[in-house]
């Protein structure tokens, strides 16, 4: 697959899921398991992506400047610092460590 094919397919899939919500009967929400799974699915995917983005390098595990950067980010999120500032701070920590090492 080319990047364009991947991008178009993924975009249509996400858009189709939004449209599907307007077409299905509301009674689907009566099932607690469905809503609960959807909720936890989001959490699991985001946590897994965060972990892989922090430790992964292709098919290897690498501990580098990303780890302290993410630790700083977690601390700042806990202090309720706005999202964009935390992301910039994380980039700054990693960039600083790499510039000095």
């Amino acid at each position: 697959m080319t990047f364009w094919q991947i991008i178009i397919l993924a975009s249509i899939a996400v858009l189709a899921l939004k449209v599907a919500g307007y077409l299905v009967p509301p009674s689907l929400l009566e099932k607690p398991a469905a809503a609960r799974v959807a909720d936890l699915l989001t959490i699991a995917l985001l946590a897994a992506l965060a972990a892989v983005q922090t430790f992964g390098a292709g098919e290897e595990i690498v501990v580098d400047a990303r780890v302290p950067a993410v630790v700083v980010a977690i601390a700042l999120f806990a202090l309720r610092v706005p999202f964009i500032l935390v992301v910039i701070a994380a980039a700054g920590v990693a960039a600083g460590i790499r510039a000095l090492s």
Partner: protein
């Protein structure tokens, strides 16, 4: 409800909340644009994603997996983005009665059904202010998000060596930020830790993208059997933060810093909450 003054007041406060959330979210589109370009996508591809996919979590997942595995990880990237997009479908079930209108209007509404528009809409007290909150938020985020995506992509291209600028760490921080507002329950925290461990352990074993999908199975298992969950409590609203069920209106923007932010439960499951 025979209080036109109150009606107008709710209407205006819904619009204000929507614009504030739109502004806050737009700032964050810059990071998506820059990270997408750093992942090897060009400016057109980056802007296409923000225009058509228009869902922060899915967008970051797509470019994150492509950055790790390239085009070979395409199926996993698509699956990851789609799975993260399922919650928008659940939101749509709740917002469909709010927006009304014909098929084209409903298609437009579906397009802008995301964490922010749903959260602001459901937090409003009257049908009219809910509708206003939905459309103002959705359109404000859509316009701002796409403009800042373009700006971020241009910045990303200008940076060149993105690793030296720590953009890989910024991507990791972005995922943490999307996750953070959702970690209000024990069950949510357990799922997050388990998923992170599974994904890291499997990274040397499976091709890029697949560890994330396997980690998602953890959530499905825990969700289906409701391990660590509250027994026969109301179903959690997707992304709901239970502590916000008594939130004052309008939704404070700091509750909704980003796409993927927790959806306040007020107005959604209030009727079933004790």
């Amino acid at each position: 409800m025979n209080d036109p003054g109150g009606f107008d007041r709710h209407h205006r406060s819904a619009a204000r909340a929507g614009l504030a959330v739109g502004l806050a979210t737009a700032a964050y589109g810059i990071s998506f644009g820059a990270l997408s370009v750093a992942s090897g996508l060009d400016i057109w591809q980056t802007c296409f994603i923000s225009l058509v996919m228009f869902s922060g979590g899915s967008q970051f997942a797509l470019v994150g997996v492509l950055a790790a595995g390239g085009a070979a990880a395409g199926p996993a990237a698509i699956a990851g983005a789609a799975l993260l997009g399922t919650r928008n479908g659940i939101y749509g079930i709740r917002t469909a009665p709010i927006v009304g209108g014909g098929p084209w209007k409903r298609l437009a509404a579906a397009w802008i059904t995301i964490d922010e528009s749903t959260a602001v809409a459901l937090a409003q007290p009257t049908p009219r202010s809910r509708r206003t909150g939905f459309w103002v938020t959705g359109i404000a985020v859509f316009v701002g998000w796409n403009l800042t995506t373009l700006a971020g992509a241009l910045i990303g291209e200008a940076l060149g060596d993105t690793r030296a600028f720590g953009l890989d760490a910024a991507a990791a921080a972005a995922f943490v930020g999307l996750l953070w507002p959702r970690l209000k329950r024990v069950q949510a925290g357990a799922v997050a830790v388990a998923a992170a461990v599974v994904a890291v352990v499997l990274t040397p074993v499976l091709m890029p993208g697949l560890p994330v999908l396997v980690a998602a199975l953890v959530a499905v298992a825990i969700g289906l059997f409701n391990w660590l969950g509250t027994p026969d409590g109301p179903a959690p609203v997707p992304g709901a933060a239970p502590s916000m069920s008594d939130a004052t209106l309008p939704v404070p923007e700091d509750v909704l810093p980003v796409p993927g932010a927790a959806l306040p439960a007020s107005g959604t499951r209030v009727e079933t909450a004790s």
